[in-house]
């Protein structure tokens, strides 16, 4: 039944998913996305409204309720596509619920369900706008909203029918689980479909959860525990209350019926007793009695003997259908009895076995008539007897005047006589609404035959439904329980609470269906679960929103500021002052950044100071007093270095070797900064010490290379151009280790590059042998050396200053003195560069030979020009 019902609902369950896929496709693949927002929302709203109509019309009847998938439609429209669509679909869904009445839906629940449908749309709008910040919620949230909305639906049905709440609850109870499941499934399917289409993850990453996810997980567990605990508690308490109520109602009904039975039996017996007194014993003994007695004398009032009376009373006993007749005289002594053993028994005798008799006697002293309750006889505890009595008149013949007549019944005998009188006693009684009262005789076989009386309505219904059987309509073990004790078993094949009592020779049974007894418990537990689920949902929403507002948004602000700070903007301030924690965090971050700023400034100042110091050491290592040797008029030299950073990798050097030779060099270390500066100092010192040993230029470089290669872990190298000028002869010997060719001006001509085959730069590779070249300088000849900081200076367009431009410039200024020439070149380079940043040191050295000091005559021509010699090699 459940399964087939679900199959019937399947189309309506699938519908929102199919619509979701269709609109997803439309929005991505067609011009649908270009329509105005309002138009799109309208179309989606109408489509889902139509789906709600379909859902309302394809409802499935489960028990008394019509289960339909309706609320899911506005929810899907609102949550998945936008609030306005949800509201439009909600309005249509509410109207469609009205229509559904004509198709058999309960009018009872119409108002509540229509309201719920409308509310679904509005809820979707509110949730999407304020909780999910205009975005589509994940499938788990959509599922939760679907579940909660259906619960709200159920609660609304109950709320709108408070005056008929039981009826409403029956409908709800029958249909709610299925209704909730079907609608939730519909929302789940639609949101899952979109999640998959958008290739979003189905579950959050447990390695990388958000604060909200963790808190919600904890909250979920905590609230679920609370929900289960409180539900169990309520369930138990309500069960106990319901069972106690059932006990009361069963006991009361048994009391009532037992009383009724007492009245019936007492009335019957007393009437019989009175009748017997009047007809048989009061007045003179009837003639036939007198005749029948064996009368020994002529006394008209003569007495029969005991045996005669016993026989007479036995006749009466059989005639009246009682079990025992005793006649008690006015002294309380049994004077005649159907049982000869009783004759002469003194009912006043106060013995332990005689309590029943003495109490009977005392009652008879006070009242005209008396019916004693069923009591076990003194001689047989299992034999129950009931006695009643009626006073005899003063003219009674059998007692001799006064006294009373006592009739005794055993239970079986009594039942035989009064069964027909108590047939009606239970017929119109009820226990609760559907509970039964019954009077039966046989404890061990309580089938229909033995039911003396039972609630008509219940029996008839059971008969109609085929639940009444010949035997076993009560639980078989009912009689194993003590009297007046509730037990649970099948009554007329329906689980019921039962209780019995042995009363007046009958078993009086009261039953109450368990379902009815526990009805209020079920209502309160179901309502509690629903209300607590709502509470859980609200808690979720509050935590979600609260975390988002208090924590996530603030964290994002802090992160934004931190990102700025890490990018180097130390002026950025974190200003999240909404809560104490964030205020403290903001202040801490700001203080930290300020401290950092201070430290950086301090460190920068310290490094600046150290670099300044290093720079002055470096510069002081280079000869920087011009003219350096005022006594030597043979040459004019000027050199300068400008570093791109505080310390540089270029250097120049010159020194006199003895009195007649001037060694000079320019060099460029690869790299920049401190490493280059350190390498430069090493190279400079090394070359100078080698030069001072008087080695020729090529040998200086070869040896320097060997030393520099050893232990050159950093793979640095240095280019160098080294010249040794004989001041007397003007002979210049030089060697080049990978350095730019210098410009040379000879004999008043133009400057030209002195291109000679260069060796590898120093420290580049071991076992390099450099060549020595020779050149004759004549007075007035000028040599200009530079580093690539000059020729590779770049302007704004990334153009190089270039060798050609340098050559042209020096030739335009060829008559300038060394110092002025260098300064002019530097000025030109600066002009060329403009604002473009420079990364290389600029170093230059310029030397003009004036001829030997003694004479200013022409050069001492030396035909053995080493230059030529080398070239021939």
């Amino acid at each position: 039944m459940e399964m087939t019902a679900f199959l019937q609902l399947a189309p309506a369950v699938m519908l929102p998913m199919l619509l979701a896929i269709a609109f997803w496709w439309l929005q991505r693949k067609t011009a649908f996305a270009k329509l105005r927002y309002g138009v799109r929302q309208g179309i989606i709203g109408l489509a889902y409204g139509a789906a709600a109509l379909v859902g309302s019309c394809t409802g499935v009847a489960v028990a008394d309720a019509l289960v339909s998938v309706r609320d899911a439609m506005p929810l899907c429209a609102g949550l998945l596509f936008g609030g306005p669509a949800g509201v439009i679909a909600g309005v249509i869904a509410a109207l469609s619920r009205g229509l559904a009445v004509t198709l058999g839906a309960s009018p009872l629940t119409m108002a509540g369900q229509a309201l719920a449908a409308l509310l679904s749309g509005i809820t979707a709008l509110v949730l999407r706008r304020f909780l999910f910040e205009g975005r589509r919620p994940g499938w788990s949230y959509a599922l939760a909203v679907g579940l909660v909305m259906e619960i709200v639906n159920v609660l609304l049905v109950c709320l709108t029918n408070l005056d008929r709440v039981e009826q409403a609850f029956d409908v709800v109870n029958a249909g709610a689980p299925m209704m909730i499941a079907a609608n939730a499934l519909a929302v789940l399917a639609a949101s899952l479909a979109l999640t998959l289409l958008d290739r979003q993850p189905l579950l959050y990453d447990p390695q990388n959860p958000t604060i909200a996810q963790i808190l919600q997980s904890i909250l979920l567990v905590a609230v679920m525990v609370a929900l289960v605990a409180s539900s169990l508690f309520t369930y138990n308490v309500q069960t106990r209350i319901a069972q106690s109520d059932a006990d009361n109602v069963l006991t009361q009904n048994i009391d009532d019926l037992s009383d009724a039975l007492v009245v019936e039996t007492d009335t019957y017996m007393l009437a019989l007793c009175t009748q017997m007194c009047q007809q048989e014993f009061n007045g003179l003994a009837p003639l036939d009695v007198v005749q029948e007695c064996d009368v020994p004398d002529t006394n008209k009032n003569g007495k029969c003997d005991d045996a005669d009376l016993t026989a007479l009373l036995t006749d009466y006993m059989n005639m009246y259908g009682v079990s025992e007749i005793n006649v008690v005289d006015k002294n309380g002594v049994i004077c005649a009895s159907t049982n000869p053993r009783y004759i002469g028994f003194d009912m006043k005798a106060d013995t332990s076995e005689n309590q029943q008799a003495i109490s009977f006697y005392r009652e008879m002293q006070e009242y005209e008539q008396y019916a004693q309750p069923f009591t076990a006889t003194a001689y047989d505890p299992d034999n129950y007897w009931k006695y009643c009595g009626s006073r005899l008149r003063e003219d009674c013949w059998i007692s001799g005047g006064g006294g009373f007549l006592q009739l005794g019944y055993d239970a079986t005998r009594l039942q035989e006589n009064i069964d027909c009188d108590i047939e009606d006693v239970a017929r119109c009684r009820h226990v609760g609404k559907n509970g039964m009262m019954a009077v039966t005789t046989e404890p061990n076989d309580v089938g229909e035959r033995y039911l003396i009386s039972a609630t008509d309505e219940v029996i008839n219904r059971a008969k109609a439904e085929g639940r009444l059987s010949e035997k076993g309509n009560f639980p078989a073990d009912l009689w194993d329980y003590p009297e007046d004790t509730r037990m649970e078993g099948l009554v007329l094949q329906e689980p019921s609470y039962c209780m019995y009592r042995w009363s007046n020779g009958y078993y009086v049974v009261a039953t109450l269906p368990v379902k009815e007894a526990l009805y209020s418990r079920n209502v309160s537990v179901l309502m509690l679960v629903f209300m607590e689920t709502l509470l859980l949902a609200m808690l979720f929403a509050v935590v979600y929103k609260g975390i988002s507002r208090l924590v996530v948004q603030n964290l994002q602000k802090v992160n934004h500021s931190l990102a700025q700070i890490t990018e180097g903007n130390l002026e950025e301030k974190v200003e999240v002052y909404s809560t104490r924690e964030f205020r403290e965090l903001s202040q801490d971050i700001n203080v930290t950044v300020d401290k950092l700023k201070e430290l950086i400034a301090e460190a920068a100042a310290r490094i600046d100071a150290e670099l300044e110091f290093a720079k002055s050491i470096q510069l002081s290592a280079l000869p920087n007093v011009f003219p350096p040797y005022p006594s030597h008029k043979e040459f004019t030299i000027w050199a300068g270095m400008e570093t791109a950073r505080e310390v540089g990798g270029d250097f120049y050097d010159f020194y006199l070797l003895g009195d007649h030779q001037l060694a000079f060099l320019i060099a460029d270390v690869s790299g920049k900064g401190i490493p280059a500066a350190l390498f430069m100092m090493t190279s400079k010192t090394l070359i100078k010490s080698l030069a001072e040993t008087g080695l020729p230029a090529d040998e200086i470089l070869t040896r320097a290379n060997t030393k520099l290669c050893a232990g050159n872990e950093a793979d640095m190298f240095v280019t160098a151009w080294l010249g040794v000028l004989d001041l007397d002869t003007g002979v210049l010997e030089f060697a080049n280790a990978g350095h730019n060719a210098p410009l040379l001006r000879q004999n008043g001509g133009e400057f030209a590059y002195l291109k000679k085959r260069s060796g590898l730069m120093l420290a580049g590779m071991e076992d390099v042998h450099y060549k020595r070249f020779g050149l004759q300088l004549n007075p007035g000849d000028t040599l200009y050396l530079y580093t690539d900081g000059v020729t590779e200076a770049t302007d704004g367009q990334n153009r190089l200053y270039s060798d050609r431009r340098l050559e042209e410039f020096v030739n335009r200024n060829k008559d300038l003195q060394p110092r002025e020439l260098c300064r002019a070149v530097k000025a030109d380079v600066d002009r060329f560069v403009g604002d473009a940043p420079q990364f290389d040191d600029i170093t230059m050295l310029c030397l003009t030979y004036h001829g030997p000091a003694e004479s200013t005559e022409g050069p001492q021509a030396d035909p053995t020009c080493m230059d030529r010699k080398d070239e021939q090699k």
Partner: protein, 106 residues
Amino acid sequence: MNIEKTLKDDTLCLAISGRLDTNTAPALEAELKDLPEEVRELILDFAELEYISSAGLRVLLSSQKAMRKKGRMVIRYANEDVMDVFDVTGLVDVLNIEDSADPSGD
């Protein structure tokens, strides 16, 4: 600067384009430091290389030293400007240079 890598058997070809200077040399240095173990021949394609500074030369020298132990390093298609630099610095004698512009040293 851009580096395009092609590894075929034990031959790795790095085509370097743009400027190889102080700013870009560390990238090439890192590339050459992490050479695959099996590489026996390293070919540096300088067809698109516009400029090389001393920092670039330093990387070439280091690499040359490293490759000499396990195979060889070849420089191909260097243009005239780059060849000038190799010439001036004396590197023409040290490096294996193939299919490149004539050194303009006379």
